[in-house]
């Protein structure tokens, strides 16, 4: 490693002149000792923030696809739910597996929140400074970050509720069970808000990741930006639409099932628990 020179010691450069004449002897540059080496944690935290965000965004998309299988049929959703309980590998469903996944997600979720919060305005002065800046700059990417903060903040509460629900009642995932939760359990307003917050946060986050790390670059930075922005809008639009339609189906299902709320869905194909073939 080239010895770094502290600023006052930078006179060492004076030795490297074109003159063959007297040069002043600069203080010897001290090689940085190993203990003075700058911490690697900021880099790791930055990587972890991005990695956890990427994971959560991909999870969210997959989750959305799984949940939306209700659009195909009750049976399809039922099958997906049982699949994640390991029914097709272990012979019978183990809802505890869902709880385990939820715990993993929660850990990543909390880690991501903590890592991301380090970038939030610290205190009112910084908060004001950013708001003023955002307002006079009128700059799309800067304003998007503001949205990111607020959706993130909202997610911290709303997603936690949802995760807690899933953690404690992992068995109650099924066409009727979920529909009852949405309608009879009055969770639909939360899910509606959660849908917007999560999908916006995820698509902006993915867009930001690509910019931050320089993925999917085109010939010019501005061209890659335009492309990424298009992708971001498309992702938001697609998943919010999918989410809204799915939620509507659950609401509908929940309303129709309200009279029998609490009754569980029984698969017409498997009157008993599915067995592995």
């Amino acid at each position: 490693m080239t010895a770094l020179i502290d600023n006052k010691g930078s006179n060492e450069l004076l030795a490297a002149d074109a003159s063959g004449q007297r040069v002043i002897h600069a203080p010897t540059a001290m090689p940085l000792r190993q203990s003075q080496r700058k911490s690697r944690w900021p880099a790791r935290f930055d990587l972890l923030q991005s990695a956890s965000g990427l994971f959560l965004a991909l999870f969210l998309m997959a989750h959305m696809f799984f949940v939306s299988t209700i659009l195909i049929s009750n049976e399809a959703f039922y099958t997906v739910a049982r699949f994640f309980e390991g029914a097709y590998f272990l012979g019978k469903p183990y809802p505890i597996l869902v709880s385990a996944v939820v715990i993993v997600i929660m850990v990543i979720f909390i880690a991501h929140s903590w890592l991301a919060m380090r970038k939030f305005p610290a205190g009112y002065r910084q908060y004001r400074a950013f708001i003023d800046h955002k307002n006079h700059l009128r700059h799309n990417d800067t304003s998007l970050w503001w949205l990111q903060i607020w959706t993130g903040f909202a997610l911290f509460f709303m997603a936690t509720i949802h995760l807690y629900d899933m953690l404690t009642q992992p068995a109650l995932i099924g066409p009727y069970e979920s529909a009852d939760r949405v309608w009879t359990g009055s969770m639909w307003p939360l899910y509606l808000l959660l849908l917007f917050a999560a999908e916006l946060h995820a698509s902006i986050g993915l867009y930001r990741l690509a910019i931050k790390w320089g993925w999917f670059t085109a010939t010019t930075p501005n061209r890659s930006r335009r492309r990424l922005r298009w992708a971001k809008h498309s992702l938001s639009a697609f998943f919010i639409t999918l989410g809204l339609v799915t939620l509507a189906v659950y609401v509908d299902l929940g309303r129709n099932h309200a009279a029998h709320a609490g009754e569980r869905y029984v698969s017409p194909q498997h009157s008993t628990a599915p067995v592995r073939h």
Partner: protein, 659 residues
């Protein structure tokens, strides 16, 4: 009164000042730099096209060396340059380029193999030698016989300034920004530093130093139409003049750049023409070949600017609502070339004219560009008249440029002079002469005198407005002391400038805001600028010949018999209204290149009787030495190496020489 001590006080944070400071610092001197603005904002950054140095790496530069560069420079100067200085300069310029390369300047490089260029509006394929691949390349500039101008796209000055400025930061040299030297501390024989005004808060300070170096740039702002930055008001030169003992030399030698965009006066580089751009008139006709069949658009700047003005006067100017102009056509260079090598030009055209120079012609007209004159120094940069005072760069009349400077020679001069003068300053400080016995009473007197002047001016409630007087002065200079001059207009200009100088003592200020008061600053500077304007106008009036950039309609010939001499302007008495002019004769007997025809422009000089004698002498020396190498021959004709610091005396490597 706060006093700040150092060994060396460098006034001016442009390329010349920074490089001189660096040289002195490397020799162990404590250096402080004063700058009107952050150094990286200095006007050096505006040098676009490049820096001349005879590396000779390119196909069109092959065979170039110091001798060719020397001859081009002396011809360009119309034989008014100090030839020893010119020799020192051309010898050191390659070293300067190479040093800058090591400091990180991203000089454009030679790409081996064929490439297309535009020469004389023809598309020509040049084949660059394999051996030169990756070495520093060069472009064509006016008044040169080889492609010699090393460049970094068209941001050469910017790249150089940043590299040198970063070196001064690395060297830990403090720069006191937003500081303006307002007078020199001196006792009539020795300079001890300067009284300095802090432009942020208006306070006066005393900087006491063993050596003081003026590197304050030119005075283009005494003209209305100028390519110069707004800080180029010549105050450094003016305070040297006001000492009464330091002369300003050749102040009438003012260069006009042919291609300033019209009417804003912003420079577009000579590189436009060097790379193949053409000048066209109202009919779209390329007129320069009519006047200059050989060099065409690439004659020296004084010649091109004069031909352009003459062409406009003959009724061939294009016209817009601001007045008459001509066209610079670089559309033939193609978009790729403009985007790569002329980016700043493109940006300037887009932002200030709203045009794309790859598609449209650029409206241009000559504007004041460079001050060949300045504080008269010897070959080591020591100012005449005051020990301990030095000057370098555009502020100085080191006299590399004589009466016309070649494009690419000034940005080169800044660093070369900085290298040489900085060493001389260090030598001075290391010698017994550098010892200083300054009385605090003298410092206090100087401080109190300046403080009194500012207080008086701040309290003044006379009827004159500084901004109006300034505008009038600038108008007189542009209209009557411009490219084409005559005795009548010059005499009228001198008279009115004299009247303005009197009126400037009756300025009334409208504001008295605490801290930096821009109105007070303007009013104070105006009086200095008027003295400079008088040096220019009066010098031009007295010089009854035409030489380089100084062209007199009523005396159109170069008159070596009477005027092969340098004007020295003194302002010995604060009450005098025009400068006292003295003249310093250039000695033909010591010239390596006696006066002759420049190879472009008029060919009607009145010869000096010594010229023929010197030519005969040179012929004799040549035949005596016979077949010897060019260095020995040069040494016999006019020795100069002894004037350089020892480490700058070595021979320069080229591909065919010493490599």
């Amino acid at each position: 009164m706060e006093i700040i001590h150092s060994d060396v006080l460098v006034i001016g944070g442009g390329l010349a000042g920074l490089r001189a400071a660096l040289a002195a610092r490397k020799r162990g001197q404590k250096v402080i730099i004063l700058s009107l603005v952050p150094p990286k904002r200095s006007h050096s950054a505006a040098a676009q096209g490049g820096m001349q140095a005879s590396l000779g790496h390119t196909a069109k530069g092959a065979g170039d060396n110091e001798d060719v560069h020397f001859a081009d420079t002396v011809r360009g100067s119309d034989w008014a340059a100090d030839q020893e200085v010119a020799r020192m300069f051309v010898h050191t310029a390659p070293k300067a380029v190479r040093e800058l390369a090591a400091w990180g300047v991203p000089w454009n490089r030679v790409q081996a193999g064929p490439h297309e260029v535009i020469i004389d509006s023809q598309r020509i394929t040049l084949n660059e030698p394999e051996a030169a691949h990756g070495l520093i390349t060069a472009r064509d500039f006016g008044g040169t016989r080889k492609w010699r101008t090393c460049y970094v796209s068209d941001g050469t000055g910017h790249a150089m300034l940043y590299a040198v400025s970063d070196q001064t930061i690395a060297a830990g040299i403090p720069v006191h920004e937003r500081m303006e030297a307002v007078s020199l501390i001196h006792d009539g024989t020795r300079c001890y530093g300067a009284i300095v005004r802090n432009l942020s808060n208006g306070k006066l300070l005393a900087y006491v130093a063993r050596a003081t170096c003026m590197a304050t740039g030119g005075f283009g702002r005494i003209y209305r139409s100028t390519t110069n930055a707004v800080i180029n008001e010549g105050i450094g030169a003016a305070i040297a003049l006001e000492t009464g003992v330091v002369p300003l030399a050749n102040m009438e030698a003012v260069q006009f750049h042919p291609t300033a965009i019209f009417p804003a006066g912003i420079l577009v580089t000579e590189g436009c023409r060097g790379d193949g751009g053409l000048l066209r008139d109202v009919d779209g006709h390329r007129f320069m070949p009519d006047y200059e069949p050989e060099k065409k658009e690439l004659a020296s700047r004084d010649v091109v600017a004069r031909r352009m003005e003459a062409h406009i006067r003959s009724g061939k100017g294009a016209r817009n609502r601001f007045g008459e102009h001509l066209w610079l056509d670089i559309t033939l260079l193609g978009e790729a070339h403009i985007n790569g090598k002329l980016r700043e030009v493109k940006e300037i055209c887009q932002h200030f004219l709203g045009i794309d120079p790859a598609k449209e012609w650029i409206p241009v007209r000559p504007a004041q560009h460079y001050s060949m004159g300045g504080i008269r120094t010897d070959a080591h940069g020591a100012a005449r008249g005051l020990r301990g005072l030095f000057a370098c760069g555009e502020a100085a009349c080191w006299d590399l440029h004589g009466f016309n400077r070649l494009g690419g020679n000034s940005v080169a001069e800044t660093v070369v002079a900085g290298m040489i003068v900085g060493e001389a300053i260090a030598d001075f400080c290391a010698s017994a002469e550098g010892d200083m016995h300054v009385s605090t009473a003298l410092v206090r007197d100087c401080w109190e005198q300046e403080n009194g002047r500012f207080s008086q001016l701040a309290a003044s409630r006379g009827g004159e407005s500084a901004s109006q007087l300034l505008l009038r002065m600038q108008t007189i200079m542009s209209e009557q002391v411009g490219i084409v001059r005559n005795g009548e207009a010059l005499a009228a200009a001198v008279d009115e400038l004299k009247a303005l100088l009197l009126r400037s003592r009756q300025i009334g200020l409208r504001t008295s805001a605490p801290g930096a008061n821009p109105e007070l600053t303007t009013a104070w500077r105006l009086q200095k600028m008027l003295k400079l304007a008088l040096c220019v106008a009066y010098g031009a009036l007295q010089r009854t010949e035409s030489r380089g950039a100084h062209f007199r309609e009523d005396h159109p010939q170069r008159d070596d018999a009477h005027w092969l001499k340098r004007t020295l302007a003194y302002w010995r008495d604060a009450e005098q209204r025009v400068p006292t002019l003295e003249y310093e004769t250039l000695d033909i007997r010591r010239m390596e290149l006696p006066p002759g025809w420049r190879g472009y422009g008029a060919r009607d000089a009145i010869e000096h009787p010594e010229t023929a004698l010197r030519l005969a002498k040179i012929e004799q020396i040549r035949s005596e030495l016979g077949d010897t190498d060019r260095h020995t021959m040069q040494q016999a004709l006019m020795p100069f190496r002894h004037l350089l610091p020892p480490h700058l005396r070595g021979a320069n490597a080229r591909l065919e020489e010493n490599a």
